[in-house]
């Protein structure tokens, strides 16, 4: 009896071993959690004189009709107010358009400020600069804007101008890497390809000397 049971057990073992030897490899499935981050990117362009009809208006009472100077060209060049009269107010329509492309879902902030104060030349006044603050203003473009529409003054930067008078921008490294919060001109809570146009206002104090003045307005876009 025991011998018979042993034979049956041995046969079962042989059959089982043979079946395992000829079976396909075992397939196992499962899931893995993959966490990753897409690094945010920000790109920006600024287009001066971005729309047909750009240029200065105003100077009410000055006796001089304003017209854009020769350095102003459509979709480029300089925001050139041309000849303006001290003591009067002007509006420059479609001065600059800021385009931002970002995948930052938290949005972004755009800063705009003067790389310097207004630099006088031809003739060089004394002192050679005049404050940009309370002289040059910005406001979002709107067909109904006038020289008296509420606007915000540009500020002179706390950073270091790069190149002659800030021709190549502003280095914010010495001031913590970002412009001053008072220089915010546009905030967006979302990502995407977004565009905002700006008009400029010039409010010339009676104390301003007669001269040609130049300044670079630097826009900086920082993702949130």
């Amino acid at each position: 009896m025991r011998r018979r049971a042993a034979v049956i057990a041995a046969a079962t073992l042989i059959l089982t071993t043979a079946r395992i030897a000829h079976a396909a490899p075992a397939v196992t499935t499962g899931s893995a959690q993959l966490n990753y981050k897409v690094l945010p990117t920000v790109k920006a362009q600024v287009v001066p004189n971005y729309l047909s009809g750009f240029g200065p208006t105003g100077g009410l009472g000055s006796g001089l009709t304003p017209a854009a100077g020769p350095s102003a060209v459509l979709n480029g060049g300089t925001v050139d107010f041309g000849n303006v009269v001290v003591g009067y107010q002007y509006l420059y329509k479609y001065a600059a358009q800021v385009k931002v492309q970002t995948n930052d879902s938290a949005g972004f902030v755009v800063y705009g400020e003067g790389a310097t104060d207004l630099n006088g030349s031809a003739p060089v006044p004394s002192p050679a600069t005049y404050p940009i603050f309370s002289t040059l203003y910005w406001l979002p473009s709107n067909a109904s804007n006038s020289p008296f529409t509420p606007a915000t003054s540009f500020n002179k930067t706390n950073g270091n101008p790069i190149g002659a008078n800030g021709l190549n921008g502003i280095d914010y490294t010495p001031v913590g890497g970002t412009p001053s919060p008072i220089s915010v001109v546009w905030t967006s809570p979302t990502s995407g390809n977004l565009v905002q146009g700006f008009d400029y206002e010039l409010r010339l104090s009676g104390a301003m000397p007669a001269s040609q003045f130049n300044v670079y307005i630097v826009y900086t876009v920082i993702g949130n």
Binding site: L39, T41, V42, K43, A44, Q45, V46, P48, L60, G61, S62, G63, L64, G77, T78, V79, D80, F81, G82, N83, V84, V85, V86, G87, Y88, Q89, A95, V98, A115, S134, L136, P147, F148, T149, P150, A151, S153, G169, I170, Y200, L202, R203, G206, A207, M208, A210, S211, Q212, F213, N214, V215, Y216, I217, V218, Y219, T220, V221, I222, G223, N224
Partner: protein, 242 residues
């Protein structure tokens, strides 16, 4: 004959009236004018009209139980306080060059505005009444007698109360912005908002130069939404023609 005399008298009378009118027109002329722009920011919250006390707990809450807080396995991507800084993406496109040629004001010898803008470049005013001492000064001079007049720019006599904007509303609404010349007296006068013509700010005799401060008083009603506003006042210099 009698009718002829009457006609002659009438013609004479008409001539006299016309002569007088043209002389009246010739008496004064608008020599020059200037706009003064005042920037105002109304701070966001009007004065509260009431105060709601927090609700007091009367009886113990019978449904008090432990609060469950959902939590992820890893609480922080970057532990707070760790010496790690994540750089923010930024871009700085090519700067925008701006230029203008400032020409001298040909009328500066007769009419000048000397602004005294606050440090921020605009006046921050709360709801209610705010006085802005010597917000700006005005200089006037002429070789004949003259008068300075002011009016709220863009206002009209016929526009109606809804055609104006804060703070110089439109007639018949009284302007929320008033002026006073402290050299002449403390009384504030709401800015004229019935269009050109305006009200006399001061007068001057032949060859008299004068420069005075203008105090402003602004009243922000509670119904006025907060925000940025400008008041534009036009000053006209009328002079006696030689």
């Amino acid at each position: 004959m009698r009718y002829r005399n009457l006609a002659g008298l009438l013609a004479l009378a008409v001539l006299a009236v016309l002569t007088f009118g043209s002389q009246a027109d010739a008496l004064t002329g608008l020599k020059t004018f200037k706009e003064v722009v005042i920037s105002i920011v109304v701070t966001p919250s009007p004065a509260p009209v009431g105060w709601l006390a927090p609700k007091k707990q009367g009886l113990p809450d019978p449904f008090v139980r432990n609060v469950q807080i959902a939590s992820a396995g890893a609480a922080w991507d970057v532990a707070p306080g760790a010496p790690v800084m994540i750089a923010q993406s930024s871009a700085q496109p090519t700067p925008v060059p701006v230029q203008f040629v400032a020409k001298p004001d040909p009328n500066a010898a007769f009419l000048r505005v000397i602004p005294h803008p606050p440090g921020a470049g605009f006046y921050t005013v709360p709801y209610g009444t705010t006085v802005l001492p010597c917000a700006f000064e005005i200089f006037t001079f002429y070789t004949n007698s003259y008068k300075l007049q002011d009016w709220g720019y863009n206002t009209t006599k016929t526009g109606g109360p809804n055609s104006g904007t804060f703070p110089i509303e439109n007639y018949p609404t009284v302007s929320d912005l008033s002026w006073a010349v402290p050299d002449f007296g403390p009384i504030f006068t709401p800015y004229w908002n019935q269009g050109p013509g305006g009200e006399t700010t001061w007068s001057g005799i032949k060859n008299q130069s004068q420069q005075h401060c203008i105090d402003l008083k602004i009243v922000v009603p509670n119904a006025q939404p907060a925000g940025s506003f400008t008041a534009t006042i036009q000053y006209n210099l009328y002079v006696t023609l030689p």
